[in-house]
């Protein structure tokens, strides 16, 4: 009887929820998180105001311009936020010694990892919601309602991108023993995803004379590219702006492209969690 009462599932939702609330509690007191929220909110407001100012000059008032500007901002800032917060989370606790103490409790590595991801994802969702919310209020105050669907859709995609960044950050945090190494790897990954990935793709096309379909498939290997073309699809309904690769994608997948790309981004969001779990289970608190 006692044995039956003691048997514990390896993934208990109440434990994951408790760890997530604790992570959210800590994140809201983290100065990096505060700084990111402030910077992201300021930048979204500046972009919205600029979009409004230039749009009104030509008699155009709508969410579309701001949404288009926000795509680039999100691609630059959100991965940086997610990667660094994710990379710091386990590594800092490992160095402080709190991770050893927590893992000595009746919980599993999977619960710790999921709790951290959920808590940090909630914190980043709050940051994104504040930025998008204030920007949306500014636009609505100016009487804009056109394109509000794509604007809200971009918020959803940004949340998925933040989850991907957090998962990747947690992978570094779970696998590397020192905070500096985890943070350094996260910053390098950010550089690779945001800048070097694009350059590498462009270089490969030029040097290898890559066919369009291969170029499109290669671009799917970078979740930021997936985010970009999903966001453009939401905003414009087609990928003409991306040139031949975009036309190829539209021609091949048609109206399936949007749900497929959202699904792919969702897959990317959680994909790094598997190696993160395997590394973290192996390394544990040491």
């Amino acid at each position: 009887m006692r044995k039956a009462m003691l048997s514990s599932p390896s993934l208990a939702p109440e434990i994951v929820g408790l760890l997530a609330r604790k992570e959210l509690h800590d994140a809201l007191r983290n100065r990096w998180f505060m700084l990111y929220t402030l910077v992201f909110t300021l930048l979204t407001l500046v972009l919205s105001w600029m979009g409004l100012a230039s749009g009104q000059r030509y008699g155009l008032v709508g969410f579309g311009r701001t949404t288009a500007s926000l795509i680039n901002l999100v691609m630059l800032v959100v991965p940086l936020m997610g990667l660094t917060l994710g990379a710091l989370s386990l590594a800092i606790e490992r160095e402080q010694g709190t991770l050893l103490y927590v893992l000595a409790q009746p919980i599993t590595a999977a619960e710790v990892l999921l709790g951290k991801l959920l808590g940090l994802a909630m914190a980043l969702t709050a940051t994104l919601s504040i930025g998008f919310g204030l920007s949306g209020l500014l636009l609505a105050w100016q009487g804009s309602t056109v394109g509000v669907g794509a604007f809200i859709g971009l918020l959803g995609l940004s949340i998925l991108l933040s989850i991907f960044s957090l998962s990747l950050g947690l992978l570094f945090s779970g696998a590397l023993p020192r905070t500096a190494a985890a943070l350094g790897s996260a910053l390098f990954a950010w550089l690779l995803l945001v800048f070097l990935g694009d350059l590498g793709l462009l270089g490969s096309v030029l040097v290898l004379h890559m066919p369009i379909e291969q170029l499109f498939v290669l671009s799917l290997l970078n979740p930021l590219q997936v985010f970009k073309f999903t966001a453009i699809l939401l905003l414009q309904g087609d990928l003409q702006v991306l040139g031949p690769a975009g036309q190829y994608a539209m021609h091949t997948y048609g109206w399936h492209l949007l749900p497929l790309s959202i699904g792919l981004l969702g897959l990317w969001a959680f994909l790094p969690l598997l190696p993160a779990y395997l590394f973290f289970r192996q390394r544990g608190a040491l």
Binding site: S7, S10, H25, L100, Q105, T108
Partner: protein, 289 residues
């Protein structure tokens, strides 16, 4: 009745063997000390029992396999590490409530458990502002959550001053009286004599002796001609007291414990007399083997 069964436990870090083929059992209600020099494998053994490290061999607690049922096993263990690190964003009450919830207990258990270790008046104090002794007492309170079958303590008094250590040992003594099963590692033989009925002497990862404190003492210290006297004086007097003792031919030094003097077994009080006559203020002293 055996609570803990360890069979052929081996743990390697890379090519270095830290634990080699350890086998022993611990009965319910017994207090067992792990003794041995630094690097003997005491901490690693405790971490293996908690399932925090992969290992070869078998560890069973109350019939549960640590490797297969680690989470269930940890529910049966309370753990006090050598240096406790609490979440700096939580206060004492929140810390107890958090760890209680992790164990599936009601968070309202915080107050009674803190009363048990004399920290109830600190319930709203941030953990980062607690003294070393208070932190260890909080760690003991957390280890007692849910009344676990086994308490594991990894050199729990190593970072404490004399007063806090004595206070902490009193709590452990009361747990011993209650018949709680304890496994603790220590470098201090007097703690073994005070708390343990059995000593496992580890050296280079091997179980060199499974004996009683009295027998181990006889084996290790019979031939010893000297003891170590630790003196607690006001910090400003340390340097002069050291000079005074060295001038009288004593082998002495200042370290984190205070002033440490090597004394002949038959003249242990001599440094105390010398310093007292020279006008030094001796607050406390300890004698170590």
């Amino acid at each position: 009745m055996n609570l803990l069964q360890i069979e052929r436990l081996t743990k390697c870090f890379g090519t270095t063997s830290v634990l080699r083929d350890l086998s022993f059992t611990v009965e319910v209600g017994k207090q067992v000390a792990l003794w041995g020099p630094n690097g003997a494998g005491k901490t690693t053994l405790l971490r293996c029992i908690l399932g925090l490290l992969p290992f070869k061999g078998t560890i069973r607690l109350d019939g549960y396999d640590v490797r297969q049922q680690g989470k269930t096993v940890r529910r049966l263990i309370g753990f006090v590490p050598q240096e406790v690190a609490f979440y700096p964003t939580l206060n004492v009450g929140e810390t107890v409530a958090f760890f209680a919830c992790l164990r599936g207990l009601d968070f309202r258990i915080a107050r009674p458990i803190l009363e048990q270790v004399g920290l109830a008046d600190r319930i709203h104090q941030p953990t980062r502002t607690l003294s070393g002794g208070q932190r260890q007492r909080l760690a003991l309170a957390l280890a007692l959550l849910g009344d676990p079958l086994l308490l594991l303590l990894d050199e729990p008094t190593a970072s404490l001053d004399m007063h806090s250590r004595s206070e902490f040992l009193t709590y452990l003594e009361s747990l011993k009286q209650q018949g709680k099963t304890l496994i603790f590692s220590t470098h201090r033989f007097e703690e073994i004599e005070q708390l343990a009925g059995r000593v496992l002497f580890l050296e280079n990862g091997r179980l060199e002796a499974d004996t009683t404190p009295a027998l181990l003492k006889k084996r290790l210290f019979q031939a010893a001609q000297h003891a170590c006297l630790r003196l607690q004086l006001p910090a400003v007097q340390h340097a002069k007291a050291l000079q005074t003792l060295q001038a009288k031919g004593f082998d002495a030094c200042i370290n984190s414990h205070g002033l440490e003097v090597r004394v002949p077994r038959d003249r242990k009080a001599l440094p105390l007399l010398l310093l007292d006559r020279a006008g030094f203020e001796i607050i406390d002293f300890e004698l170590h083997a």
